[in-house]
């Protein structure tokens, strides 16, 4: 006859066991087709490139060195790889500027949506959600059509006589920025909206009651309270932006290389899989750092609101 304690413990054990069994399929699939392969990338980054792509099973730190350094072919000295550094810097800069741009545009938009009446709010939410779920490629393509030399922007400007010849927008860094901001805007709006929706506007009332100006209310009351949403949105934009592939490819035309193009190159013509792996891991590290900053910041935000 089992004691009461044994029965209770056995029941608990059975429950935990069932939960592990239930979550097994998801965990296995993700391990095999998402997380596990990342470890393989790490391994590959420490190997030697093979002659026709793939790798030779020989340890070599060259890939990691090549991430930022290059070896002079004459005297074997190491110097900073200007090309790589430029690309890293361009990608990070682009990601940051995209984040700032989408924040500047997205914050008022989320505010607008949150301050509509209960009934209309759902409609605006629906309207923002549609572009969000529309294929990234299609949206990028749509932007391309508009800013090309024969596109609407140029055609209208010429017709209005403002310019005489089409401005070359496409295939410039500006084009990529426009495309990125366009594509990632809903990603910034949604989390901020989620935060704003919970905002108690009576606090805003209190602010006005205590002689605050509109700007002060915005800066000292509204912004701090929706900070979690702003941080979440920034992260949601920054992470994909760093590794962005489609938009820079389509709108940049391959002339201005981004990190994603550089990585892709190593698996194509570059035939340097280890380098491609090392570059990918570097991207991961940048992302991890950003995520860590988010977690830390979000934690602090929680503390302040108690």
């Amino acid at each position: 006859m089992a004691t009461a304690e044994e029965i209770a413990k056995e029941a608990e054990r059975r429950d935990v066991r069932t939960r592990w069994l239930l979550s097994a399929p998801a965990l296995i699939i993700i391990l095999l087709a998402a997380t596990g392969p990342l470890l393989i990338v790490l391994v590959y980054s420490l190997l030697t490139p093979g002659p026709y792509g793939d790798v030779k099973w020989q340890f070599s730190p060259d890939a990691w060195v090549s991430v930022f350094m290059e070896r002079d072919i004459f005297d074997d000295t190491l110097s900073l790889a200007a090309a790589h550094v430029t690309i890293f810097w361009r990608s990070i800069k682009l990601a940051i500027v995209t984040t700032i741009a989408t924040l500047a545009l997205g914050f008022p938009t989320a505010y607008f949506m949150a301050t509509r009446s209960e009934k209309t709010r759902d409609i605006w939410l629906f309207l923002i959600t549609i572009p969000f779920w529309t294929n990234l490629l299609i949206r990028t393509f749509a932007v391309l059509q508009i800013i090309r030399n024969e596109g609407i922007v140029n055609t209208i400007l010429i017709k209005l006589g403002i310019i005489s010849a089409p401005i070359q927008i496409l295939f410039t860094d500006t084009a990529i920025l426009i495309g990125m901001a366009y594509v990632y805007l809903p990603l910034m709006v949604l989390p901020i909206y989620a935060s704003m929706e919970k905002l108690d506007f009576r606090l805003v009332e209190a602010g006005y009651d205590l002689y605050a100006s509109r700007f002060q209310v915005l800066r000292r009351i509204i912004f701090p309270l929706v900070r979690p949403g702003v941080i979440a949105g920034s992260i949601l934009v920054f992470i994909p932006a760093i590794g962005a592939y489609v938009t820079p490819s389509v709108l940049g035309g391959g002339k201005n290389m981004m990190l994603s193009n550089l990585i892709e190159l190593q698996f194509g013509q570059g035939r340097n899989w280890p380098l491609g792996s090392a570059l990918s891991i570097t991207v991961m590290i940048i992302v991890m750092v950003a995520l860590l900053a988010y977690v830390r910041n979000a934690g602090r935000a929680e503390v302040r609101h108690g």
Binding site: M1, A2, A4, A8
Partner: protein, 364 residues
Amino acid sequence: MPEQPGKNAIEVRGVRKVFGTGEHQVAALDTVSVSIRENEFFTLLGPSGCGKTTLLRLIAGFDFPSAGEILLYGQDIAPLPPFKRPVNTVFQSYALFPHMTVAENIGFGLEMLGKPKAEIKARVGEMLKLVKMEALAGRRTSQISGGQQQRVALARALAPQPKVLLLDEPLSALDYKLRKEMQIELKRLQHETGITFIFVTHDQEEALTMSDRIAVMSSGKILQVGTPWDIYDKPAERFVADFIGETNFLTAAISGIANGKARATLKSGATIEATVAEGFQPKDNATVVVRPEHAKLSNGKGDLAGTVENIVYFGTDTHIHVQLDSGEAFTVRQQNTRSAGCGFERGDKVGIMIGNDAAQVLRD
């Protein structure tokens, strides 16, 4: 304890339930034992957090005791999961299945037991008649009122003819009038079906009006088990006396303890006869309790003396708060028989007579 007639439907023996581990361990139930007889309306009464719901859940099978045994007609049911125990529950939130109709809800237990369709249909019909819900058999449960939902929950739990029915504060969500009606209904149902009811509530009035026996609980312990009269007239501990109805507490010296009675010498000097709670250990300052309606106010001398401090009128009766000469406070409840006033005024010097068999010595 003298042997009670009839079988014990539920026996709880030394049950403990702890949550958490190490220093943060909380004992929701601290070694409770109680026997509940078959066919009785038994109530677990206590404030929130006292453990009454925890005990109910252990009997139902939703949780396992950390120590002790729970017997159903002599059989240990602790190892059995809830779907193997012939015990059904009426939940506080009713927990009606929203995607099924009233009839489907009521028939669910029988369906799970594998009863033939014809039998289920017949029994559901019986239940609907029992709780007077025949007209709403085909409705979705989200479309009926709170009181109706309550009755469906009841019918659903009764349909499989369980040995014991557990009711977890089933009337707390109803408004006053409906509550009173349902109290009478429940009592009637218990009588008709003869099923053992274990009823959980924090409402002492409810407990007193409905129960055959009550177990008063506090902080994971059962303080006293008895009939409503026992609990009310002869509370064993301060908590019970305080929790049920209104009481007066007097300090006294106890002497001559014999056969559950003793002599109590009050601070005023008077000595009265009192009953003594079980487990009373002689000590210097014992507490004696007297119910406000068992004391009589007069202008002359009495067991106690004091000054009228406040008079509160309640329609059916009047409470007269007296500041005793001994420094203690005492309230007398007087039924209003005359139309004008209770016969006393603030500031009056009065004497209080304590009725026979009205004083009880608490064990703590």
